[in-house]
Symmetry: C2
Subunit: 332 residues, 2 copies
DNA sequence: ACAGTGTGGGAGATCGATCTCCCACGGCTC
DNA sequence: GAGCCGTGGGAGATCGATCTCCCACACTGT
């Protein structure tokens, strides 16, 4: 029992393949309503499904968008991919997600794989601001590419990101408003634009001598390392801003093991507003990204004219979500 | 600048398309090494990439495997998808992951989308043992489908799962060996085969009257609900087995908020061995699935003869990972 | 030297849907 | 009533890679 083809549907409905195609693919062309009904009926009866390879070959489009994220082990990127998937599906498309394992080399491979005739366009959350540029630029020469959440030098394409500087100001204003002035930053992954921008904004606001703990990567484990260092200097610090939720979670659990009270002795904030934050007691204050808006904009750029994709960075406004890790009276 | 086709490569190398195809697609056929080098050189020079739609149309295969998981919000399924992705990539293929949002209806849609000419085969982690069957059976009639991690009634295909009964025995033996005898189960999602099997195994071992808390879904929030109920009955319980890590994490954090010491007063175990478990103090004892082996087997079934995919369940041996939530002396 | 054998290469058919013509037909104008 | 136009449908070309032949040539054994 071989799968029915358009030809079979056309024969069953007593029309030509062209007409059947016009009906089923929704080509903008008037077809006699009566014939249309017959075609649809026949398609349903035979259980016809359009062969996507054939359609893609003929039309040159696949209806699929790809996204490459640094690592799905970080729940923030899962959430991000999900936000994009919602938008893509709403538009009748499909999303393919790839994981770059935090390596620019693997990232380049994933981009290459997705781009060779499998997707119409690509969103990339670049692993590194410096090292990801060339691969993205090469990709952008072959198909529409838009950077998401982070940018990369020399990418040659547009980026849709969070306004990290504004986010940092929100956090610092919030903490200072609560009377916290000895604020330390736990920053990770300076190679990424988001990591670098968050550090730069902190330094700009607090002065070059401000306390910072720099870590290699956005992982819970790095957060625990930071926790040990902060605990050792607990007398000098009354608040810690973490550059990512995964860091904050590791940090808070380590601080608590060292009997440092949060927020009593040290207030802590995260960044990204993932579900992880609700796990601990206290839940952690964080920054929410307007992911739905960002995804909508990125997809519009992807599908719009190439002229709109010149190298640039578009920044979206963050939102502060206050929880008990900074303000014990914040409602749960 | 239009993309180079096989024809262009062949012309540049001074051979026919057939020969160029034999070289680049690796058809099992002898080609003069000298010609082969010329073809490869030309392909590289022109920046040729094979058009996957055309290849797929002609060969009828896409080199892509799909997997549908109940929800990527549960980190266990992210981990599971990653294990499958590793195996698929090692075999030179690509994996497409879809999220069923814990709904059999959306699951059926995702299966349908993936199956219409986009994947060679499909792995499904069915949302529900009862409700997922029909959609899976329909899919299995059109392409190779194998169930993963869970099974579904009337699916008409093979399933590769964990031996949940053995896992439950490992946990109970471990707890009883530590002198814990007033053990409660926190079970969720009885609609899924894994949820149901874990409950059944617990009841079989501890008797029908054994304490259980039943919850609708595998979420952290459900874990917190369970935590409140267990805390209210703290005198009757000295150990809690959770049917999933996300439950255990919610449970432990809630118990600690109620000043119940873990494991001092109540020992707690998870299920699935996700990274979440390292977040809390104490880290939580759990069950590790042999995901790499399971993925290897599932893919072998997918690519093997249809006769091997008659409805059946193959169970893999679990592994107990002891952490401080049951045995305070276990090393970190 | 010749039929037989084996090896490597090419011409053309093929996968299935869509797109580009072109044609038939009915209604309209003057 | 003849020419025009607009509408709807069909035949065939097309997308790009692979597969199925079949042919040319070199080498073998008698």
């Amino acid at each position: 029992m071989t799968a029915p083809r358009l030809l079979d549907v056309a024969a069953a409905a007593g029309v030509s393949r062209a007409t059947a195609s016009r009906v089923l693919a929704g080509t903008p062309r008037n077809v006699d309503p009566d014939l249309a009904r017959r075609v649809e009926e026949a398609a349903r009866r035979l259980g016809y499904r359009t062969n996507h390879s054939a359609r893609a070959l003929r039309t040159g489009t696949t209806g699929t968008v790809g996204v490459v994220v640094p690592s799905l082990a970080n729940p923030y990127f899962v959430q991000l991919a999900d936000a994009i998937a919602q938008q893509v599906r709403a538009a009748g498309g499909q999303l393919v997600v790839s994981d770059a394992a935090n390596s620019p080399a693997i990232e380049a491979e994933q981009i290459e794989t997705l781009l060779s005739g499998r997707v119409d366009g690509l969103l990339v959350v670049p692993v590194s601001a410096a090292a990801s540029g060339p691969a993205v630029r090469a990709a952008a020469g072959r198909a529409p590419v838009v950077l998401f959440d982070r940018w990369a030098h020399g990418s040659g394409t547009a980026a849709v990101t969070l306004d990290n500087a504004a986010a940092m100001r929100l956090l610092l204003d919030h903490l200072e408003g609560l009377g916290r002035h000895r604020i330390a930053l736990v920053a990770a992954d300076q190679a990424s634009s988001s990591g670098a921008e968050r550090l730069a904004a902190f330094t700009a606001a607090r002065g070059a001598g401000a306390a910072t703990v720099l870590l290699p990567s956005f992982t819970t484990d790095a957060g625990r390392t930071a926790g040990r260092r902060i605990a050792a200097r607990r007398a000098e610090v009354d608040a810690v801003v973490c550059g990512a939720d995964v860091l904050a979670v590791g940090l808070v659990s380590t601080l608590q093991r060292s009997a440092v009270s949060v927020p009593g002795e040290i207030a802590v904030t995260g960044f990204d507003d993932t579900e992880l934050l609700e796990l601990l007691d206290p839940p952690i204050t964080s920054i929410r990204h307007p992911l739905a808006d960002m995804a909508e904009r990125a997809l519009a750029l992807l599908q719009g004219p190439a002229a709109d994709r010149t190298e640039s960075v578009e920044r979206f406004a963050p939102q502060l979500v206050v929880r008990a890790s900074t303000d014990a009276d914040a409602h749960p």
